[in-house]
Symmetry: C2
Subunit: 164 residues, 2 copies
């Protein structure tokens, strides 16, 4: 039933938006200097994790067939390189990219029809998709939502008032 599909899709979308909003709230409580600290000794800095999430989310734009990505220069800094290997844009700039990319995705998500979420993403060929129909857009969203939660679990260590 289409109703059932919509309910299943809603659970994942709600979870995505919930995590974006939790990170937005965390970013609001942190100064640029605090965000630029390592989340734990010797680990990634908050700015790197925000840049990494932004770059990964930006790549979702073409991957889901929405539009070209907005900030391709972030890939080399935040996906193919580890933290401290490359110079990165200032925290204030990263905050803008983060918001731009997630707002753009949100607009596309809101206009997707349930059946569109079941279509193939652009990294799988039509031939492979015929054999592996689970390689659809919703599968990308599930995977990126857990990726977001994974790094949120690390970013939260920058909030020294919280302990979980």
């Amino acid at each position: 039933m289409k109703h059932h599909e919509e309910l299943l899709i809603k659970s994942v979308l709600d979870s995505w938006f919930n995590h974006i909003s939790r990170i937005d709230n965390l970013l609001d409580t942190l100064t640029d200097e605090e965000l630029h600290m390592e989340v734990a000794p010797g680990r990634n800095r908050g700015t790197y994790l925000i840049g990494h999430l932004t770059a990964v989310h930006d790549r979702m734009l073409p991957l889901l067939g929405f539009e070209d990505h907005h900030h391709p220069h972030l890939d080399e800094i935040f996906i193919t390189s580890a933290d401290k290997e490359k110079d990165m844009p200032p925290a204030a700039e990263l905050r803008k990219y983060w918001k731009d990319v997630n707002d753009t995705l949100a607009n596309h998500f809101k206009s997707q029809q349930p059946e569109e979420w079941l279509q193939r993403h652009t990294a799988v060929s039509e031939e492979d998709f015929a054999k592996e129909p689970h390689r659809n857009k919703m599968n990308v969203l599930v995977s990126r939502t857990t990726h977001l939660a994974y790094h949120f679990g690390q970013l939260i260590f920058l909030d020294h008032k919280r302990h979980d």
Copy 2:
């Protein structure tokens, strides 16, 4: 289409099992002593996080209408109390609980029909569920999968050979 529902459910189940398996692999690389360390200075110990995840997963057994939970004594130690507030079972014991609970859930998950995932979970009344049909079992699974990913992002800091 039922086929579509199955594909959507598969994406979430795959993600659940993938994260369980990543934590299993991490546990295999850690000694009990290593697992009993704080994941970052002043933060939860690995044993606490495994106990916490185990207790939360154990509560999914009644929440999803499968069966009574197996280890209710874990709730007070790992859900209602923070780390270091209560004595906890030894790491070797926690590893057994972790496996027992996740294996039990896996067996139930594998026998669920797509339409069963759309049924209400036991924490919502029939009246409320009629108005809020997204409060279904799949919604619980999505939420617990991101919860698992969140804490996995923290547990991975115990693996000092990895940096992500």
